[in-house]
């Protein structure tokens, strides 16, 4: 209704995960704040062909439960980037990732890895195709690891599959 507000707030509505997580980890005995990545320059690649003629690949931070690991803690777990067939999406395991488990669940993979929804768009001709594989990498505290090791591995998978454009969905 014009002229009415839905609600009034004394602070911004958007959750600041940078501030929130700093307080949370301080309460756990980690007083030093994590130094988040910040860049002044942002690279930008324009589309080089219509989406209707492009192959789209999806990148996720969801992963498969690794075998042969004694310690179930992602900070200590050496997992590698992967490329998996679309049919494997149902086997993903988000139990160790940090998301709002009090509020929701991830039992419907389309809520974080929308392969069926994207398939519909390809079927309708909006996209040329969806890559037969999706791509995953571990959430890492180490920005250097992500930039120097994991991101190039994802790029290599994407080039192998002749993917033109990418949709990236963090949990």
């Amino acid at each position: 209704m014009l002229g009415m507000t839905d609600r009034r707030r004394t602070s911004p509505s958007f959750v600041s995960y940078i501030d929130r997580s700093a307080r949370y980890y301080e309460a756990q005995g980690y007083p030093q704040r994590y130094a988040w990545a910040h860049f002044d320059d942002v690279p930008f690649a324009p589309l080089t062909k219509p989406l209707a003629a492009s192959r789209l690949g999806v990148v996720t931070t969801s992963y498969f439960h690794p075998e042969n690991t004694q310690v179930r803690s992602f900070v200590d777990r050496p997992v590698d980037p992967y490329a998996a067939p679309r049919s494997a999406a149902a086997e993903l395991d988000n139990a160790e990732l940090f998301w709002a488990k009090e509020e929701t669940h991830t039992d419907d993979p389309e809520t974080f890895l929308p392969l069926a929804r994207l398939g519909e768009l390809a079927e309708a001709g909006r996209l040329g195709s969806v890559s037969p594989r999706f791509y995953g990498l571990p959430t890492a505290y180490s920005q250097r690891r992500t930039l120097q090791r994991d991101a190039p591995a994802i790029e290599a998978f994407i080039r192998d599959d002749e993917v033109d454009v990418a949709l990236l969905v963090p949990l």
Partner: protein
């Protein structure tokens, strides 16, 4: 942390000539890192592509991401999806990672357990 990881990959791919769009719910982390195209879904972390079972909403959000991928002309473009998690309850914003008197002792104990576990892992590594 997932949002930072994905943002770093998006930047890498853009620099390599591959257009990207990030679809996520932690706005500050993605925008601080800086990406070419970002669709912000103001939801609790876990379901950036729409609520479980709500196929119509998932279609709207994923369709928006594809539109943004196509129409964006300059980097640092953020588009917010017109979806509301719960019009009658905004409490999820305060509940996530909350710290108050009800859980302060529990959090401190969890931190101690985590440090002890990490120390054991370090000690068990051959070249730790």
């Amino acid at each position: 942390m997932c949002h930072q990881t994905v943002s770093l990959v998006a930047r890498h791919l853009e620099a390599a000539g591959i257009p990207t769009v990030v679809l996520g719910s932690a706005r500050d982390i993605v925008e601080e890192c800086g990406v070419a195209r970002f669709v912000f879904v103001d939801f609790p972390l876990g379901n950036p592509c729409g609520k479980p079972g709500d196929v119509a909403m998932q279609r709207r959000i994923v369709g928006l991401a594809i539109d943004v991928l196509e129409s964006t002309a300059a980097p640092r473009t953020t588009v917010q999806a017109a979806e509301v998690w719960d019009p009658h309850d905004d409490g999820w914003r305060d509940r996530f990672m909350r710290v108050d008197d009800s859980n302060r002792a529990e959090l401190a104990a969890a931190g101690e357990r985590r440090r002890a576990l990490q120390a054991r892992v370090r000690a068990s590594r051959p070249h730790g």
